[in-house]
């Protein structure tokens, strides 16, 4: 019989190696899976992990998809470290897209240089406003932010759906549920010609850097970390729990909102019913793979982005179903959680009592 037993001293090294182990296990499982499906695993691997990034356009796509994952991942990591379990980055992203997209539509084809800054600002504020709802409910009524943020995801998607089916629908769009395309001044230009990657990736990398400085060097970051590690110590020191919840949610809302507007003002170029293939949810995995460390999250976001690209490439190249992306994401999270468990616990073989050699000594002892 096997049993889990707490390790006396969890290894710090292993907590950093664990994402690598998880990624390796994911690859092995993928290999077996492809073989079982009767596909050539080597070719599948090439299609999944190499081909998408073998061209400069591919690298651009990688960075493009990294952008929203990194923005949301960094925001979530800050919150998770402070024990604030916001899992609704997807909703905050959607709201950022709606708010920023609304500003873009208001500007129409205007080539005002104010358009882009105002769109980005509106996107950030939209995400923050959406995150303010769970923050208010949690601090005022002690509601559970996991449930509230999750439910707000669906509400935000329905709001977007109503807008693109109703008031914001493009009159010349042949009844497609989408808005008019944004004007040139309302669209983010490519950062590198020949690719679709925008300034968004620079904002995302900048945010990761700022978040790293915030969590390592500032007192506010320290307060959030204490709240996550030892809530009683935070209360003892007088760090306000409310302020902590507000900061964590608003920061993540802002980052996710920025991700949203960067998506619609970048590669999409308009508002439409579907603007994110679950970036906000995948960012939860990204945050954990990055060990909730802003710099680690960069690597997590790159890996997750590659999974998205690889999934598409495998669909096109080998006719694999679209579920392949979700499958790999799931494998990665599953193995990561498993590997993390073994940082704190180890498997122990437990002998059954009857097999114990020392058993005969016991009765004699009782007599004495």
């Amino acid at each position: 019989m096997l049993r889990l037993e707490r390790r006396p001293t969890p290894s710090t090294v292993m907590s950093y190696v664990s994402p690598l182990i998880a990624a390796a296990c994911m690859l092995v499982t993928g290999f077996l899976l492809f073989s079982a499906l009767g596909k050539d695993p080597v070719e599948a691997f090439y299609l999944f992990f190499v081909k998408p990034v073998s061209t400069s356009y591919g690298i651009g796509e990688l960075l493009l998809k990294t952008t929203p994952l990194l923005l949301c991942g960094v925001g979530l990591a800050l919150g998770f470290r402070a024990n604030v379990w916001n899992i609704g980055a997807e909703g905050q992203l959607t709201m950022g897209a709606i708010a920023g997209g609304g500003v873009a539509l208001w500007f129409g084809d205007s080539d005002s240089s104010l358009a882009m800054p105002l769109m980005l600002l509106a996107g950030i504020l939209g995400g923050m406003a959406w995150a303010a709802i769970p923050a208010f409910l949690r601090t005022r009524f002690n509601t559970n932010e996991i449930l509230v943020t999750l439910m707000l995801v669906y509400i935000s998607q329905l709001v977007l759906s109503w807008l693109v089916h109703g008031p914001w629908r493009d009159p010349e769009g042949q009844n497609y549920p989408q808005s008019q395309g944004f004007g040139d001044a309302e669209t983010m230009a490519a950062l590198i010609s020949g690719t679709r990657v925008t300034w968004g990736i620079v904002y995302a990398l900048g945010l990761a850097l700022v978040a790293w400085i915030f969590s390592q060097k500032t007192f506010a970051g320290f307060r959030m970390q204490v709240a996550g590690l030892a809530p009683a110590a935070a209360a003892y020191a007088g760090f306000s729990e409310r302020r902590n919840i507000w900061i964590a949610l608003l920061l993540c809302g802002a980052a996710a909102g920025l991700a949203g507007i960067c998506e619609v003002a970048g590669p999409i170029g308009r508002l439409q019913q579907q603007i994110s293939p679950g970036y906000g949810f995948a960012a939860i995995i990204v945050a954990w793979i990055g060990r909730l460390h802003p710099i680690g999250v960069i690597f997590g976001a790159l890996l997750m982005s590659l999974l998205y690209l690889g999934g598409e490439s495998a669909q096109m190249g080998m006719g694999l179903p679209s579920a392949i992306t979700g499958l790999f994401q799931g494998l990665l999270l599953f193995y990561l959680l498993a590997a993390d468990l073994f940082i704190n616990f180890r498997l122990k073989r437990v002998e059954t009592a009857a097999a114990k050699p020392a058993a005969p000594a016991a009765p004699a002892e009782a007599a004495a």
Binding site: F219, F222, A233, A235, K348, E365, A368
Partner: protein, 525 residues
Amino acid sequence: MDQPEFEDLKPRLVLTGITKRYPSVVANDDVSLSVRPGEIHAVLGENGAGKSTLMKIIYGVTKPDAGTILWNGQYEAITAPAQARRLGIGMVFQHFSLFETLTVWENIALALDEHIPTVQLAARITEVSEKYGLPIDPYRLVHSMSVGERQRVEIVRCLLQEPKLLIMDEPTSVLTPQAVLILFKTLRRLASEGCSILYISHKLDEIRALCDTATVLRGGRVSGSAIPRNETNESLARLMIGGELAECHLAPRVPQEVRLEVDHLSLASPDPFGTTLKDICLEVRSGEILGIAGVSGNGQKELMATLSGERLSPDGSMIKLMGQPVGTLNPAKRRAHGLTFVPEERLGRGAVPPMSLAYNALLTGARYGMVQQGLILPGVMRTFSKSVIDRFRVKCGNEQSVASSLSGGNLQKYIVGRETMLQPKMMIVAQPTWGVDVGAAQLIRQALIDLRDQRVGLLVISEELDELFSISDRIAVLAGGRLSPSVRPAETSIEQIGTWMSGKFGDGASDARPVAASRKEAVNA
């Protein structure tokens, strides 16, 4: 029980050459000891002497680097607590391992290797706890219990498994004098039934009263063994600390202006099992120590939380610091008024376990130059931390060691040191020397007295009467959420305080008296 009874019995447990090295310290260095059935064997030593590590090795929590364990004449490699329990070894830890959100019986059921139906288990808990004079309600939730009550749960949990060797790590630190006597009766009874007991402590009187034999550890090595009955406190202390004990000296002082004033504070506990504070009045002046005695669970936790600001009062003027109403301010804002405080719970409240000592200085010391324009100044933080470590002789690697790696007493030295060096005008300390060895306790008490002599006002909540008698200018008792009048130690006796501890200090009179009495004293002084 006399020695001859078990002298010819074969030893139950023999440790030989046990060695355990940690990266920064050798916790055990070639330690050997032997315990016979029915023997109460003391393991005596200062904090960091390696007592807890040795016990964890016996209990299978920690693996020794070298050495052998002989159990009932057989070599055993004890690799897990479950194995230790199967062999018949039970342990009551200094830091309790209970789930706070579960009830007493649920906690106990989790630790049992066999399954017992709830009703039966609850009945057994009640039966065993009453048999050994440690009554507990099996259906109570652990989070609502005081430290003293939680210890009972731990002890009863071990006793249910009918151990052949019971390890007690600093068991009396949370008990009243009466409760200690009951515990001793329990332990003697267990010993007479053939159970061996390893009794870890640094309280010399207790060891001399209870234990048959003693092994003394110093710096991880055995510095001697003794028959405690034939020793004096001084001779045992010499073995333990390698020197003489210093005495506290409380020079008479005239208290000055009022630093802390609590005016008719009544506050219901939000916790259904908590204690309601009833009409508490007290004042602490500059340059005096007010000691608050009482068994924990009588409102100590609630009073501490209300004074620190972790719980807010309905009316700001119920609590005044330096004359300013602070009852509705949070702890950080009260600190800004010159208050510092040391909580009873060290790991997790007084310190963040996985953070370094340096960062734990930042926890409450941010205002003292460690933060500039929102940015942490690591240099200032580390320097402050180092000076606390030096001044309070905290045994640790360095200021980068994580808080959870320190022994309980060393962490307490660090926390008391930190709060002391933040230059308070008023300091509140709960259980300053709980689980702390004599040398360290002496250091902490002297630090409190030094603060008093620098005209800081101090409020000390403690369960140790000896301690309060030796450091307090005035003593009051908290019982059932009410505070007794305060008296000078010289004008009272342990007996009177003991009576007050049971809540008998006159009902109507207690409402108005405490403040009035202390004012009169101040005038007289």
